[in-house]
Amino acid sequence: MDSIRKHPEIKCFVTVATIVAQLEVILTEAKSLSLTSKNARVVAIRAGEAALGFKSITNFINEFSGRTIQTTEHINLHASQLFKLALHHLRASQLEQHLAKSLTILDHPESKKLYSVAASHVKDAMVALKHELQNLQWQFEEIEQQMRAAEYIAVTSRVEASQAGEFCASLESVSDYISSAAMRIKGAIETNLNTLDELERVFK
């Protein structure tokens, strides 16, 4: 931890990698949710009158899982930009450190000039990185909201499933799945938001 405090640019790299790894979890769960909603719709159609309420709920599931997939894919696209910014910041910081060391060996005006340019590059790189991380945080919060809606839908769908006669058991398992998938996605989002918080503390 000490070395990370001394070199926050390394922490930034690790953070981006951790987030990208969690994105895969979110994407897989969201895709499964979308598939589940399609299967549930087929079951609800077969159940006919008894599962009318459930059928309309599957549209909601499909909609929010689609939005989650879209947001996650959007974040994924940004991940490479984040890596680029993290690398840019890492290199700028390394240069700044080496130039500071060079100044301790020889206090030369050219080294001073280079150092001041490098320091300003580090600041710029940090601003760009923070901006991108803030965007990322907002996108995660958006998914988190979608998952709150998913939890609400899971409860409602359970009520509807209970009225679906012989299809009750299979529709209840859909409700359970929605609930557990939403929890797993929320867990991954929480990990990412905590990682971002931790990074912010390191930068401070």
């Binding site: 290199r91 700028a92 390394q94 240069l95 080496h98 130039l99 060391k101 060079s102 060996i105 020889l106 030369h108 050219e110 080294s111 280079l114 490098a118 590059h121």
Partner: protein, 244 residues
């Protein structure tokens, strides 16, 4: 880092940087060469990232940074050129001359600004102000794409890993007693140099050059008689051996 003037001529001078007391113990000691002409400066094998600060300070003691127009990397090893990512930000307008074979590899060190100038397998000439240098092929000695720098005016051959010795960082800059020094070179050459035929080919070509000084990237520099003694010794040494 210690700097030593090797040659001062009418048109240019050679300086060697090495014996860095500030470097970590586990990093191999390296010699970095700098050639200063009227308006330009060329760094030969500018070194690893760990040496960047000391090298920058060393260079600024001799020349202005915007005169450093040219870098040369004999091959792709990290002790040769892993500082590239930092030079790329410090002297963004410079050109890097390096083997064509390694371009895709060397760029991994970070190269957004400096221009890569590929040296063809057969070598080429490079003119800096009024001085002409030759990139001499030294493939498979040890790297499969490898060049040395010959300066016909100063009669200096920068010989990369050939002539290298594994020594303490406070070792003298020049070979004083060849017979004693040979022991320090044997293992390096037998283990790092993979090809006897490449060695023979290089020796034949180098024997045709007028050389007053042979300057390797590690260890001590050979002057006068010691150059011929080295060529003789190297000619008789079987290389490409694991257990010596």
């Amino acid at each position: 880092m210690k700097s030593t003037d090797l040659y001062q001529g009418k048109h240019h001078k050679w300086i060697v940087f090495g014996r860095d007391q500030g470097k970590s113990e586990k990093i191999i000691d390296t010699n970095q060469y700098m050639i200063v002409t009227n308006q330009q400066t060329m760094l030969l094998d500018p070194g690893g990232i760990e040496l960047f600060s000391a090298m920058l300070a060393g260079i600024l003691s001799h020349t202005e940074l915007d005169k450093v127009t040219t870098l040369f990397a004999s091959h792709q090893d990290p002790d040769i050129i892993s500082s590239l990512g930092l030079w790329d930000k410090t002297i963004p307008k410079a050109k890097l001359y390096a083997p064509w074979l390694w371009e895709g590899f060397i760029r991994h060190f970070g190269m957004d600004n400096i221009e890569y100038k590929s040296i063809p397998d057969e070598g080429q000439e490079l003119r800096l102000d009024s001085v002409t240098f030759r990139f001499i092929p030294a493939h498979f000695l040890h790297s499969s794409g490898n060049f040395h720098v010959y300066d016909p005016e100063a009669k200096i051959l920068m010989s990369g890993d050939i002539g290298a010795a594994l020594e303490e960082p406070d070792a003298p800059m020049f070979v004083e007693d060849f017979a004693r020094h040979a022991d320090k070179m044997r293992y390096f050459h037998q283990r790092w140099m993979p090809s006897n035929s490449a060695k023979k080919n290089w020796i034949a070509r180098v024997r045709e050059l007028e050389i007053d000084m042979m300057a390797p990237q590690h260890g001590r520099i050979f002057k006068g008689e010691a150059v011929q003694e080295f060529l003789e010794w190297f000619d008789n040494l079987e290389v490409g051996i694991v257990n010596s």
